[in-house]
C-alpha cells in the first residue's frame, strides 16, 4: 500500500539560508498529522513545497503514487490537495459565499465563460449547484448568516473558518492547515479543534496540521513530526515525540532533569 503523500529528500534554500534540508515526510492515509517546531524551523516551507507554492532545490513528491514534483501550482487542487495559509488570505472583493465558491473552481470545469455568455443551461446548472454546495458548507461550519457579507466585515475567528470552508469545498483528500489557530482566543481554538476532528473522521480525509500549540497537537494528532532548523528531528505518536529529550531541548533548552510530557502539556 502506497502512503497517500510521500515527500522524499526535500531541500529548499533561500539564498544562503537552508530552510528545509533533506526532509522525508509522509502521510499514510486518513487522520490528523501534526507538524510542530520552533519559528523558522521550516514547517511552512515544507507545506509550501507539498502544495507546490515553493519550488524545492531537490526532492521528490508523490501523491497516491503519482509523481507531481514538477506540476504547476494550479493542478494541485485537481490532484486532491488544498490548503489554508498562515495569515488569512480571503479575497476582499468577493462575498464569503463567493470566496468559498473559489474553492469549488476546479470541480466546475464545464461552466466556462463562453457557456455563461451563451446562457447555456449547463452553465446555470453548474453555477447553481456550486452555490448550493458552498452554502451547505457554510452552514456546516456555522457561517450561514455570513454568506453575503464581505470577509473583512467578519471577526477574525470567522474569517479563519471561511478559509477552512474554502479548503473543504475543493473536496481534498489531503488538507494542509498552516497554523489555523494562530492568534485566536482559547474558545475559538476549541471550535477549530472540534472542526478539524469532526472533518477528518466524517470525511475520511488526511489533514496536516502545522501548529505551535503543542497541547492541541497532542489532543488531535495520531502522528506528530517535530522540525528543527530545516530537519525533521523526531516523528511518531505525540506521546513518544513529546517525551523525546531532543524535542524537549529544542523547545525548552537543555535540561538538567528529565521532564515528563505532562509538564509540557
Amino acid at each position: 500500500m502506497n502512503p497517500l503523500l510521500q515527500a522524499s529528500q526535500i531541500s529548499v534554500r533561500f539564498g544562503g539560508v537552508i530552510a528545509v534540508s533533506e526532509a522525508d515526510y509522509h502521510v499514510d492515509g486518513p487522520g490528523v498529522f501534526g507538524i510542530a517546531g520552533p519559528n523558522g524551523s521550516g514547517k511552512t516551507t515544507l507545506l509550501n513545497v507539498i502544495s507546490r507554492v515553493q519550488r524545492p532545490v531537490s526532492g521528490r513528491l508523490l501523491f497516491d503514487g503519482i509523481d507531481y514534483t514538477h506540476w504547476p501550482t494550479h493542478k494541485i487542487a485537481t490532484l486532491g490537495i488544498t490548503r489554508t495559509f498562515q495569515n488569512v488570505r480571503l479575497v476582499p472583493t468577493l462575498t464569503v459565499l463567493e470566496n468559498v465558491m473559489v474553492g469549488l473552481h476546479h470541480l466546475t470545469k464545464e461552466s466556462g465563460i463562453l457557456a455563461s455568455w451563451l446562457q447555456m443551461p449547463s452553465a446555470h446548472r453548474r453555477e447553481r449547484a456550486a452555490r448550493e454546495r458552498a452554502l451547505a458548507l457554510l452552514s456546516e461550519l456555522g457561517l450561514e448568516n455570513a454568506a453575503h457579507r464581505r470577509p473583512q466585515e467578519l471577526p477574525y475567528g470567522f474569517q479563519r473558518r471561511v478559509e477552512l470552508a474554502r479548503a473543504l469545498a475543493a473536496e481534498p483528500r489531503l488538507m494542509l492547515l498552516d497554523e489555523p489557530t494562530a492568534g485566536m482566543p482559547r474558545a475559538d481554538v476549541e471550535v477549530i479543534a472540534e472542526l478539524v476532528n469532526s472533518v477528518s473522521t466524517r470525511r475520511h480525509m488526511a489533514i496536516v496540521l502545522v501548529e505551535h500549540n503543542v497541547p492541541l497537537l497532542a489532543q488531535l494528532c495520531s502522528h506528530l513530526v517535530v522540525m528543527l532548523a530545516g530537519r525533521i528531528l523526531a516523528k511518531g505518536t505525540p506521546d513518544n515525540v513529546l517525551s523525546d529529550p531532543r524535542v524537549i531541548e529544542a523547545y525548552l533548552g537543555k535540561l538538567r532533569h528529565r521532564v515528563s510530557p505532562k509538564a509540557i502539556n
Binding site: 479575497v91 468577493l94 455563461s116 456550486a130
Partner: protein, 291 residues
C-alpha cells in the same frame, strides 16, 4: 426648426464620443481585472482604426467587414502579453504595455504607404451612427455583466488580489489572463474602428501618449474596482472635455488634475463614492424606519 436639429446633432456626437470612450475605458478595466494594468488598449484601438480605415479608403471594403481584420489582428497580437506577464509584475508589466503603444505609434508614423505617415488617413467614410454605437456598447455591457458574476469573474478577482492563492485553488492564471486580454483587445479594436468611421480622419498622434493619459484618466476617475467604473469615468471626462474644446491645451491639464484629485480624495474612483453614498442612504433608511 433647423437650429433645433443642429442643436440635437451636437448632442448626438457627444453621445457617440461618450459611448466609444466607454468601450475604450472598459477595455482597460477588463484586463486590469486580471491584475495587469495595461494601456495596450490604445494600441489595439490604433490597429482597429487603421485596419478599417485602410480597407475602406484604399480597397473599398464595406464598413462592416472592414472592422474585422483589425479585430483579428488585435486578437492575434494580444496573447503576446502573456510572455512579459510570466516574468514581470505591477508597474514593470504596465511599462511593457506602454512600450507596445509607443512602438506601434512609430510604425503608424513610418509605414507611410499604408498609413499615410504623420499626416494620417483622410476621407474615411462616416458610417458610425448612434444606434450602432449603442448596440456595440450594449453587447459589451452584457458580456461584462455576465463575466462579472460568473465563475470566470470570481477567478479573475481572486487572482487579481492574490495570484498564489488563486493558483492553489486550481485557477490557471494563464487561461484567465488570456480571456481578459482577448476581451480587452476586441473592445479596444472596435472602439478604434468606430472612432475612425465617425471623425473620418485618423493620425498617429491619436494613438499615443495623450490618448493614454485620457483613457487612464477615465479609468482612474471612474474606478477600476468595478466594471461600471469606466462607464462613469468616460461620461464625466468626455463631457468635461467637450466644455474645454475652446481651450485645446487645457484638456491634458484637466486629465492630470482629475487623476491627482481622485487619487487623493477617493482612490477607488467615483464608483466607490457612489457605493458609499448608497450604503449610507440605506443605513439612513433603516434608522428612519426604526424610529
Amino acid at each position: 426648426m433647423t437650429t433645433v436639429l443642429v442643436f440635437l446633432a451636437a448632442y448626438v456626437s457627444i453621445g457617440i464620443f461618450v459611448l466609444i470612450n466607454i468601450l475604450l475605458a472598459s477595455s482597460i478595466q477588463v484586463v486590469e481585472s486580471s491584475g495587469f494594468f495595461s494601456v495596450a488598449s490604445i494600441a489595439f484601438a490604433g490597429i482597429g482604426a487603421y485596419g478599417s480605415a485602410i480597407l475602406t479608403t484604399q480597397y473599398q471594403v464595406p464598413f462592416g467587414l472592414a472592422a474585422l481584420p483589425g479585430l483579428t489582428i488585435s486578437l492575434a497580437v494580444a496573447p503576446m502579453f502573456l510572455i512579459p506577464a510570466r516574468r514581470l509584475k505591477g508597474m514593470y508589466l504596465a511599462l511593457s504595455s506602454l512600450a507596445f503603444v509607443l512602438v506601434l505609434q512609430v510604425v503608424f508614423n513610418n509605414a507611410t504607404s499604408l498609413t499615410g505617415g504623420a499626416l494620417g488617413l483622410f476621407g474615411i467614410p462616416i458610417d458610425t451612427t448612434l444606434p450602432l454605437v449603442i448596440a456595440v456598447v450594449l453587447v459589451a455591457s452584457y458580456l461584462l455583466v455576465i463575466l462579472n458574476s460568473s465563475r470566470t469573474g470570481r477567478a479573475l478577482r481572486a487572482m487579481r488580489h492574490d495570484s498564489q492563492l488563486a493558483a492553489s485553488f486550481g485557477i490557471n492564471l494563464t487561461t484567465y489572463r488570456l480571456i481578459a486580454l482577448e476581451l480587452s483587445a476586441a473592445m479596444a479594436s472596435l472602439s478604434g474602428s468606430l472612432t475612425a468611421h465617425y471623425i473620418s480622419y485618423i493620425s498617429p498622434d491619436m494613438f499615443g501618449f495623450a490618448a493614454i493619459t485620457t483613457a487612464l484618466a477615465m479609468v482612474v476617475v471612474g474606478g477600476v474596482g468595478s466594471w461600471f467604473g469606466p462607464y462613469i469615468g468616460a461620461v464625466v471626462l468626455t463631457l468635461l472635455q467637450q466644455l474645454l474644446i475652446p481651450f485645446p491645451n487645457w484638456s491634458v491639464i484637466l486629465d492630470g488634475v482629475l487623476i491627482v484629485a481622485v487619487m487623493v480624495i477617493q482612490p477607488g474612483g467615483l464608483v466607490l463614492a457612489l457605493e458609499a453614498m448608497r450604503t449610507r442612504s440605506k443605513q439612513l433608511h433603516l434608522i428612519w424606519n426604526r424610529s
